[in-house]
Symmetry: C3
Subunit: 159 residues, 3 copies
């Protein structure tokens, strides 16, 4: 039992892996917060999609009017989907990258820039800031993930 525990903590003792776990944790939590923002807009704008969600507003026609789309709800949902499309590849490729033996300073640079870019992207999407704020923050995060993928494939390539 003791030996097993020791083995299991080896990876977590590695500094690059700890850095990965920190930033992957932060961006995954950031992505999860999009659910709360969408729920906040659904409730304050009274814009729902499931009939069972409007039953507390009354029966029949009086509740049906809350089954509608709202620009703020849709904007938060697009921000959430964009997170899924970009943060999920970061988490997957970042894990392989962290295991491919990069320098700690290089790895931290990648993780920090990605995390900063995605937080900026969320503000640019929700406020919204004028373009190209959202486009640029998206492109920066995208490029960081590609840079890590390049390092991974250079290291592990086994077709």
């Amino acid at each position: 039992r003791r030996g097993e525990m020791a083995k299991s903590t080896q990876l977590i003792d590695n500094e690059v892996f700890r850095a990965y776990a920190t930033y992957a944790g932060i961006v995954l939590i950031k992505m999860m917060l999009m659910s709360l923002i969408t729920a906040y807009f659904r409730i304050t704008r009274k814009a729902f999609v499931n009939p069972e969600d409007t039953e507390s507003f009354g029966k029949g026609e009086s509740a049906k009017k809350y089954l509608r789309t709202d620009p703020d709800v849709e904007r938060a949902r697009r921000g959430h989907l964009n997170d899924l499309e970009n943060i999920v590849p970061f988490v997957g490729i970042g894990l392989l990258y962290a295991l491919s033996g990069p320098e700690l300073s290089t790895a931290l640079l990648h993780f920090r820039i990605f995390t900063g870019a995605r937080i900026l992207h969320t503000f640019a999407y929700l406020i919204p800031l004028p373009q190209p704020s959202r486009g640029l923050s998206w492109a920066v995060g995208y490029s960081v993930t590609f840079s890590m993928a390049y390092k991974v494939l250079k290291t592990v390539w086994l077709l």
Copy 2:
């Protein structure tokens, strides 16, 4: 070669990691089944989105009428997207959590509650059950993932 094999199985010999792999496997399979449920509703309700999918129903106008949305199809799709938004963070954060050296009993508690909550969520969404069934099952799974993220960040924090 032998030595490599031994190394590769170390992680899988760890009980917490085995528990993680079991429950991550179950919820990922559950998420994949949403594709089959959506396909089932598309075929039985004859509600498609791609013109090439309706060609077996004939040419021109007779096939075009099947390019439509259907409430059951849309409901299954929303359940699938909700799984992506919640099960993907669980799988990512859960892996880091399993490697952060938690007690087996605590880890099993987290994994079991999350898995049960997400299965309930799917039934609450598809049947549908009256609210707050779906809302509560969502909130339980969400809280479990946050609890794991808190443990991960407390253990690995390296900004």
Copy 3:
């Protein structure tokens, strides 16, 4: 420091894990390319969803006409969502599978068929090819992921 580096590269020295990292990297990059394809269609078809994205086309009504949906944009978006629904489970289950100690040749067979099937699926979706091209390529990738999930659960089962 040296000892830590050695530990961190153990996993990456394992051939099955290297094969996993290669193919997971390839399909995640393929999934990310869907963003560029969607952006390409949004720009060439002038079909946007956020008002701030059309401001370079002028003010008021002249810009508003570009806030519309386009069949090619929607098709690329559906392809991207389908990738999320299928490639994400592959990456998660594939990692557990790679750690469950499969034969290298069996693992390579799974990874290669999945990767080929998903690349075919993208072409079948975007061109589009007549059915059942897209359906079959989807089903092949789906079955490969299930086969890996079966191996994982058989190996690690700890409820």
